[in-house]
């Protein structure tokens, strides 16, 4: 009960802003409820035992000489095993729905930043497979460079290099990321997605933004003294606004040339 109240009232998670996030929250809620039941149950048992079986004044002698009880022990081996099995299968299902099991070759696209070995790792967040079929929108590819202490976003199609990530609502995005120096991590809490950005090895992360707004991009891997300040913004806009931004910035580029 308390757990369900907490789920509804405590804002345990930030805004949902990608197609990955509601799936995540579903998993979170299930784990949260199971967790609360187990925690309250165990804590209750401990407190109850301490009170009920405490030594009262005047009492002498020991407790009962109970050493073991095979059926009971089998029971509480089975219970966690079943819970864990359920959690595992369920989270596998979630993982698949998030696109985690998609083979990367189908989603990886000829990217100039992909290194010669073509080893691209990562790739969760490809919930967009569905989305692609549904609205047949093309995937937006962005190359991300992380360096101490900033992210740079390069749109190969418009030859845009930006310090902010602009993406249209409802269209799948694929980021191919590489670091120039140490390990960083790309994290957008509102998308519930994170991927390390590694030097010498491109990594990929995909998402489909579903809610317009500005969300923080946070570096989540210790990368030096200014790690805490290594942030950027992802701007999710309506497709028209995004197109305008894209045109304006690629035009700027043309004029400079």
């Amino acid at each position: 009960m308390g757990g369900i109240w907490a789920l509804d009232n405590l804002n345990l998670l930030p805004v949902v802003a990608s197609s990955n996030a509601p799936i995540y929250d579903e998993l979170f809620n299930v784990l949260f409820v199971i967790g609360i039941i187990l925690f309250v149950g165990m804590t209750g048992l401990v407190i109850y035992s301490l009170i009920r079986f405490r030594k009262k004044p005047g009492q002498v002698g020991d407790g009962i000489a109970l050493e073991d009880n095979l059926p009971l022990e089998i029971f509480w081996t089975a219970v966690p095993a079943i819970v864990v099995l359920f959690v595992g299968l369920y989270s596998y299902d979630i993982y698949e729905r998030m696109g985690g099991m998609q083979s990367l070759s189908t989603n990886s696209h000829d990217h100039q930043s992909m290194n010669s070995e073509g080893r691209v790792w990562g790739g969760i967040g490809l919930t967009s497979q569905d989305d692609i079929e549904k609205n047949s929108l093309p995937m937006i590819n962005v190359d991300v460079t992380a360096l101490q202490f900033a992210f740079l976003f390069n749109y190969p199609e418009g030859e845009i290099v930006s310090g902010e990530l602009h993406v249209p609502r409802g269209q799948p995005v694929s980021l191919t990321m590489e670091s120039k120096d140490v390990i960083h991590a790309f994290w957008v809490p509102e998308f519930r997605l994170k991927q390390d950005v590694i030097p010498g090895q491109p990594t990929v992360i995909n998402f489909t933004p579903t809610k317009t707004g500005k969300y923080p991009i946070i570096c989540a891997e210790l990368c030096g003294p200014y790690h805490g300040g290594m942030r950027s913004t992802v701007v999710v806009e309506e497709p028209e606004e995004y197109q305008a931004w894209f045109k304006q910035n690629s035009k700027q580029k043309e004029m400079e040339l």
Partner: protein
């Protein structure tokens, strides 16, 4: 090896040792002295690590970086983590209680290799001093206790190298200790004492020592390669020279996940000793306890990559490590149910020892639940490297291991000193610690879920209030050490006399004087075949489960 190892039963070497308090600053070969050396030394480092934690919590009172310079913050963070793990928890739950108790439990007069034992202890203070003084000389390491390259290769080399050397020394000390425990438990058992009659802490230490011996050398090798990268500009882990940073992470966590079990399995063992005594009941499910420990040891070796779910690991690997990690919950769960069953139907004295042990159960259950959640790749992808993880592992190491250490001190202090600790102060200590701890770390779950990464000196202002609450909790924890310290010192001088066996316990360390003589028992070692033989059926007759040999 250049050290000659005297046979364990030979006591002549001990007669040359200083007596009185001087023993405690000497190269003593007495396992009890060494155990207390570990304990006191560890506690001093705990206080230092705690001051560093305080500095971190002060910095985090405000969302901007204002209290410590940014690079100093990272040094303080790195020192805090390293000290707490390698100089406090590991040496105390293994070295201190292991050395003190294991020879008693197996019915021996000392550890298998007393000299190696003393060497292992005396590696610790210099390693710790080196680590701490590096801060004042060239600046300490600042790449976190994980020292991931390339950051650890590009930050100032002096501090990082000192860090590596000191962790190597501490790892070496831990390996020596592990070998010693394995040899003692397997080879020095008193005739007639069977493995399945040993107190549970022996099994915990056997399992832990296997982990230590198998995994610590991997850490050592890895850190040596890392030091080559730093000083000789080799390219093992340096991508600029063709190295691979992910390989480091695999090698590092191959040790450092088992390290978690090296910090908690002995604590599990200690709790299994404490609960039956104060509940006046046998330890429930001895056999399943033993098998769970061994299952945890085996599984603990194959779960390391759950720390690398966002490192770009391939999907099959993510799944394998999710499953393996989740399954550790099964043997761990068994142990917790067995402890609750030990409480059930007991005649429980609600003293400080039992309160800290029960605090441990509650805290660790929460840490274990968040642990199973973190093992699920899709869940971890969002909260990895955030304050959620900071909360999780403090519930394990602080709520778990540190609570057990306190419980153990309340339980064994009368054995160590012959004096009782003051119960009122003990209960104040418990209440303050329990509230402070939960106030400090519970809100951090929320911080992580909502977007605060770990290892940062500055953060989004929306998190200010929760961080301040967390710092108040840390302040309470700091305050809680005062009644404890006072209790320890005051009781040592003025405490009530304990007698030999104030708890009427049945394990062998209590079947001698408190404090015990150098040779542990004046006569032959007692044969304790039922260390948990409490319970009504033998209490009235006083029919002792101990066969006096």
């Amino acid at each position: 090896m250049s050290i000659s190892l005297p046979p364990a039963t030979e006591n002549n070497s001990n007669s040359l040792q200083p007596t009185g308090w001087l023993r405690f600053i000497s190269f003593s070969l007495d396992h009890k002295v060494i155990g207390l050396q570990y304990l006191v030394c560890g506690f001093i480092f705990y206080l230092i690590g705690g001051v560093l934690a305080g500095a971190i919590r002060i910095e985090l009172l405000s969302p901007i970086s204002d209290f410590l310079a940014r690079d100093v913050y990272n040094q303080v963070l790195t020192l805090h983590g390293t000290i707490m793990i390698f100089l406090w928890i590991v040496p105390v739950v293994n070295g201190a209680f292991g050395n003190y108790l294991i020879p008693f439990y197996v019915g021996a007069r000392d550890m298998a290799f007393p000299r190696l034992n003393a060497v292992a202890f005396w590696m610790i203070p210099p390693a710790g001093l080196m680590l701490i003084t590096s801060y004042f000389i060239n600046g300490a390491a600042q790449s976190g206790w994980t020292a991931y390259p390339p950051l650890s290769i590009t930050t100032p080399a002096a501090g990082q190298i000192v860090w590596i050397v000191s962790v190597l020394l501490l790892g070496g000390s831990s390996i020596f200790g592990g070998i010693n425990f394995i040899a003692t438990i397997l080879k020095l058992r008193r005739p007639g004492l069977k493995l399945m009659q040993l107190p549970m802490y022996c099994w915990a230490m056997l399992g832990t020592s296997i982990l230590v011996v198998l995994s610590t050398p991997v850490l050592a090798g890895t850190l040596i390669l890392l030091s080559f990268d730093i000083v000789a500009h080799t390219g093992f882990f340096n991508p600029a020279l063709g190295g691979n940073v992910i390989v480091y992470q695999h090698l590092f966590w191959f040790y450092s996940h088992p390290a978690v079990y090296i910090m908690v399995l002995p604590a599990f063992g200690l709790v299994s000793e404490i609960l039956p005594v104060h509940c006046r009941k046998p330890l429930f499910g001895y056999i399943t306890m033993v098998y769970s420990i061994m299952a945890i040891v085996v599984l603990g070796l194959v779960v390391w990559a759950h720390h690398m779910f966002t490192s770009g690991t391939p999907p099959w690997m993510r799944l394998f490590f999710t499953i393996a990690t989740s399954f550790i919950a099964v043997p761990t769960g068994i142990k917790f149910f067995n402890w609750v069953a030990t409480l059930w139907g007991g005649r429980i004295t609600l003293n400080s020892a039992i309160l800290f042990s029960c605090g441990f159960i509650v805290n660790f259950v929460l840490g274990g639940i968040t642990g199973v959640a973190l093992a699920q790749v899709p869940f971890d992808i969002h909260v990895h490297d955030t304050y959620f993880v900071v909360a999780h592992f403090h519930y394990i190491v602080y709520g778990g291991s540190v609570f057990v250490i306190f419980s153990s001190i309340y339980h064994w202090y009368p054995k160590f000193t012959g004096k009782m600790l003051d119960e009122k102060l003990g209960i104040i200590h418990f209440v303050l610690t329990f509230i402070g701890f939960n106030l400090c770390f519970a809100p951090q779950h929320w911080l992580g879920l909502n977007g605060m990464p770990r290892r940062v000196a500055e953060y989004d202002p929306q998190f200010t209030l929760i961080n301040q609450i967390s710092s108040v909790g840390a302040l309470l924890m700091a305050i809680s050490t005062l009644p404890f310290l006072w209790n320890i010192l005051y009781s040592f001088i003025k405490g009530e006399k304990a007698g030999n066996n104030p708890w009427q316990a049945l394990t062998p360390e209590w079947l001698t004087t408190s404090p015990p003589p150098v040779e542990n028992w004046s006569g032959e070692a007692p044969l304790v075949t039922k260390p948990y033989g409490y319970g009504e059926k033998n209490s009235d007759e006083g029919s002792s489960p101990i066969t006096q040999a």
